[in-house]
């Protein structure tokens, strides 16, 4: 049983507090351990079950393949060097798509913030454009820009730009009007309001749209590659599908999952760095 606090010496109380803290930390670690364990078990059992199902012919191997085949395919692609051009092209398209998308979207947001008139004029167009499925514009981009990198990046931009504009413009408008009043009381102009209040206040939002746009960009790029590409991970999926090589399809999917997660984590890391510094 715990003794009453008042009867403890200073040293005893320190010890007692330390003990409490250690218990708390232990509890936290235990939870973390179990979460990790269950996560690992889930993944492992999924892979094992899939492998088993494939080898025992419970599922159609032609369509569903199985992990060791997929793994072998990936290793073959990596060692032969066949994977790299595809991977580089897709990653390049995604990177350009999401960086340019965030940049252009933010610039557009700045433009319509600067001119409330323009904002009112563009409003219905933005609503329509935001509501429509932009990948449907793919064929038009291909006709306009030719079957290749540019058309794919444009498809990606059509997805990322508008959402960025809307989100960033919203965050511009949500900046505390009193901060703007502070600037105004010192005789600051609209430019000062923007550079000293609006932009720094919206900076975290702009950074967090990067996170959204990574995912968006992957959608745009893969769809774009489905439509036109002769190179890239999206192309590998379509090609594998056409020649009925589903091991190739699945291995491309695995690579996409890994690389996309990696990119997302990179952006999260950059976000934490940039936002924490303030």
């Amino acid at each position: 049983m715990e003794r009453s606090n008042s009867k403890m010496s200073v040293g005893e109380r320190e010890l007692w507090l330390h003990e409490k803290w250690k218990q708390h930390r232990l509890q936290k670690r235990r939870t973390k351990f179990w979460v990790l364990t269950v996560q690992t078990l889930m993944l492992l059992s999924f892979i094992v079950l899939w492998e088993l199902a494939g080898r025992m012919k419970w599922i159609d191997v032609l369509i569903f393949s199985y992990p060791s085949k997929v793994g072998a395919q990936i290793i073959r692609d990596v060692t032969s060097g066949e994977l790299w051009p595809h991977l580089a092209m897709t990653v390049g398209e995604v990177a350009v798509g999401f960086l340019l998308g965030t940049l252009l979207g933010t610039l557009l947001a700045v433009l319509i913030w600067w001119s409330p008139f323009l904002s009112k004029v563009l409003d219905p167009y933005m609503v329509v454009f935001n509501s429509m499925p932009k990948v449907a514009l793919g064929p038009i981009f291909i006709v306009l820009f030719g079957a290749g990198f540019t058309a794919i990046v444009m498809t990606t931009l059509s997805i990322t730009v508008i959402i960025t504009t809307l989100v960033v413009y919203n965050s511009f408008n949500e900046v505390d009007s009193n901060l703007i009043k502070v600037i105004a009381t010192f005789g600051g102009k609209r430019r000062d309001v923007f550079t000293k209040a609006i932009l720094p206040a919206s900076f975290p939002t702009i950074i967090s749209t990067l996170k959204v746009n990574v995912g968006m960009a992957w959608v745009g790029v893969i769809v774009g590659e489905f439509l036109v590409a002769k190179i890239g991970l999206g192309y590998l999926i379509v090609y594998g599908f056409q020649v009925f090589n589903f091991t190739l399809v699945l291995s491309s999917l695995v690579i996409i999952a890994v690389v996309a997660t990696g990119m997302y984590q990179l952006v999260v890391y950059v976000e934490r760095k940039l936002v924490r510094e303030r």
Binding site: D176, N178, V182, T185, G187, K196, P200
Partner: protein, 259 residues
């Protein structure tokens, strides 16, 4: 002495989507150099609007607002404005916040920087210069806001309920600090407040406003023994309570039709 700020027959019309409302009507007011006045009145009497007019944030619909005898056409470095809350910029350091006004008026140099540091030091904030606002208490933050306002060296300070968001103890301390600072630096002050005892304790003159439309209802000169005493002790001075009740009655009159 020529007044620092003067309002002559000022009307202000406030236009909304639905209607145009007369927010202020026939305002005549003059504040002498070094004087500290308070504006009290029911909500909707246009207290904050009056400050915005003097600050040059909005133009009068008719009449004239004069600063040192010249019409006000926009915000001027001679006027400092303190808002209800500190509204420090969370991404700036305390020093960065304090020098914001100097940046905006293009007067940031070594000399003015020294002045800012001296002000921070004078308010016991020297150690906080590199910290960020979220690391400071409410009272400290409002002191930083005061430094920010004083940094541009205005000779007229507009105070829009700057103590209303603070706890009672901090509020009393800050009242003393603000009044001392203004007196020491020979600044003129216009305070808007809901707190009648605060108004009496800190000022030389209390102006009672009536609402709808906002207009002056009564003017009360605060006797020297109260006006010259630090706000904290002023509340204990003889005549304070009587004055409080006198102004209170005047306020109740103007408040009567509200709600």
């Amino acid at each position: 002495m020529a007044p620092v700020v003067e309002l002559r027959d000022v009307d202000l019309v406030y236009v909304t989507g639905r209607e145009a409302v007369l927010a202020l009507e026939g305002m005549n007011l003059a504040v002498a150099p070094g004087e500290f006045i308070s504006l009290v009145g029911p909500s909707g009497c246009g207290k904050t609007t009056l400050l915005s007019l003097i600050a040059g944030l909005i133009p009068p619909s008719s009449g004239e607002v004069l600063l040192h005898g010249r019409p006000v056409v926009g915000p001027s470095p001679e006027v400092g404005y303190m808002l209800q809350q500190d509204y420090l910029f969370p991404w700036r350091s305390i020093l960065g916040n304090a020098q914001l006004g100097l940046e905006l008026t293009g007067r940031l140099n070594n000399e003015t920087m020294d002045f800012v540091l001296e002000l921070l030091d004078g308010m016991g904030l020297a150690d906080t210069a590199k910290l960020h606002p979220n690391q400071l208490s409410g009272g400290m933050r409002q002191r930083v806001a005061l430094v920010r306002t004083l940094a541009t060296n205005p000779d007229l300070l507009l105070l829009d309920e700057p103590f209303s968001a603070l706890d009672y103890q901090t509020k009393l301390q800050l009242e003393d600090l603000v009044v001392d600072t203004l007196k020491q630096r020979k600044k003129t002050g216009v305070l808007v407040t809901h707190d009648l005892s605060e108004a009496i304790a800190v000022s030389d003159r209390v102006i009672v406003l009536a609402a709808k439309p906002g207009r002056i209802k009564g003017i009360f000169d605060i006797p020297d023994n109260i006006a010259r005493t630090q706000p904290f002790f002023a509340r204990k001075e003889t005549g304070f309570n009587e004055l409080f009740h006198e102004i209170w009655r005047e306020l109740e009159d103007s408040d009567g039709k509200e709600g």
